[in-house]
Amino acid sequence: MDLLKVNWGRRKHSLFYYLFLASKQLFPLDLYLFSPNPFRFDQPSSSSRLFDFGRMSQAGVDVPAKGGFSFDLCKRNDMLIQKGLKAPSFLKTGTTIVGLIFKDGVILGADTRATEGPIVADKNCEKIHYMAPNIYCCGAGTAADTEAVTGIFLSNIDMVSSQLRLHRYQTGRDSRVITALTLLKKHLFSYQGHVSAALVLGGVDITGPHLHTIYPHGSTDTLPFATMGSGSLAAMSVFEAKYKEGLTRDEGIKLVAEAICSGIFNDLGSGSNVDICVITKGHKEYLRNYMEPNPRTYVSSKGYSFTKKTEVLRTKITPLMERVEITEVGEAMEE
């Protein structure tokens, strides 16, 4: 397991860095002990700090570890598992995600069900993520991983959407799909499949429309039509039967909707509604809930009425202050 993803900050070339490279088979625990953590203030349990990189003056004031993963709870979690407690299960997006290339661009489609084991946790989640104005990405697998890998909420430069934006600012050009592809596959490969995100990446750039699939271990395929997720076989059967080159926009949307519906109705991990994203040169359309083939039909119009009210032991009412707007009136003071 090659967990090299540690934030070394400015001290990239200390002697220890080379020692570390030499001993690549380290347990995550060792990684934790050796990694500099500027935010010691936050972790009273950090007793054995073998190496101090002299950045500790920032502790207590700055935001905790800038990016990357932190492994400090691994030891405790392993201890709990050894005592017989089962590890937690994560929110997965069982999913059917598809993409196809039509005459003028790319169409991406996804279902909207998120599952937690056998239970449907979210009946209408969004699986088509924004990467760049001309590139979108559908994600299947562990929901947190697909959101993080494609998202921008982590200020770490590792997250692809923010990296693409910075690249756009630097080069002054629109992003290319192949750039997003390379960034994603590098990130996923470096975690050796532990970041469990299977993606369908599609977009239109200066070189034309592109569609790629990316597997959790980092391998990629470039295809005219692609499906991923637990419903991929159901959707692929529709594509294999009905896909042809040079589809028009409406034919393409109809085919994608049909493929996702076959996933929704035949695969238990996919369900609810169909989301579609159409990307053409210079223009994109995100059709959220394009089709809703599973509306709720059993709602009682009377609603629920409770004859026996809940018994309340104590009530405490805290009035909230009015929100005060401060407006600057008058001129600023002169120096």
């Binding site: 492994f71 979690n77 017989g84 449907v120 929901a143 032991l313």
Partner: protein, 204 residues
């Protein structure tokens, strides 16, 4: 037994008309033995944002302290309170940072955003956000809570009706779960006041 079933918990949040309600049970146990019947799972971040954490109680308390700390830093820097959407992103980032050795708790966040529009969301233990427009649930009683809320929820309820609905959903769900219950703790927040109520439930 799963790690989340070590302490037992039940948390639910619901959206009403310009208000929201967030409720939890009050039991703290060590597997099948009850240790406390007044455990605080819902915490106030600021007047308009509440977070309730279900799962391992030690992580609930640690994570709450970390989040309050981060919010206080934000208040000092920005001189204003965090919006609920921003707070949800913050929690998600803190949880994902520990992707390979996670905090063993699942938060439910509820708040009043811009224009007093209620916001609720829940996450799994590694920060996958799940925004909902009606209700979110978490904890060992989550499966019963899903069922009860699906049946009892109506959109655009006023504060009193919302309180009644969420209490009934919570109490009926925890009755079907051994590890949670022993009363209920409900906060109903409107733009003008926060009403905190302790419910009487079955003590078994």
């Amino acid at each position: 037994m799963s790690i989340f079933e070590y302490n037992g918990s039940a948390v639910v949040a619901m959206v009403g008309k310009n208000c929201f309600a967030i409720a939890s049970d009050r039991r703290l146990g060590v597997q099948l033995q009850t240790i406390a019947t007044d455990f605080q799972r819902i915490s106030k971040i600021h007047d308009r944002v509440f977070i309730a954490l279900s799962g391992l109680a030690t992580d609930v308390q640690t994570l709450y302290q970390r989040l309050v700390f981060r919010h206080k830093l934000y208040q000092l820097r920005e001189e204003r309170d965090m919006k609920p959407e921003t707070f949800a992103s913050l929690v998600s980032a803190i949880l994902y940072e520990k992707r390979f050795g996670p905090y063993l708790c699942q938060p439910v966040i509820a708040g009043l955003g811009e224009d007093e529009k209620p916001f609720i969301c829940t996450m799994d233990s590694i920060g996958a956000k799940e925004l909902a427009k009606d209700f979110v649930v978490s904890g060992t009683a989550s499966e019963s809570l899903y069922g009860a809320c699906e049946a009892m929820y109506k959109p655009d309820m006023e504060a009193e009706e919302l309180f009644e609905t969420i209490s009934q959903a919570l109490l009926s769900s925890v009755d079907r779960d051994c590890l949670s219950g022993w009363g209920g703790h409900v906060y109903v927040v409107t733009p003008t006041e926060i009403k905190e109520r302790i419910l009487k439930g079955r003590m078994d």
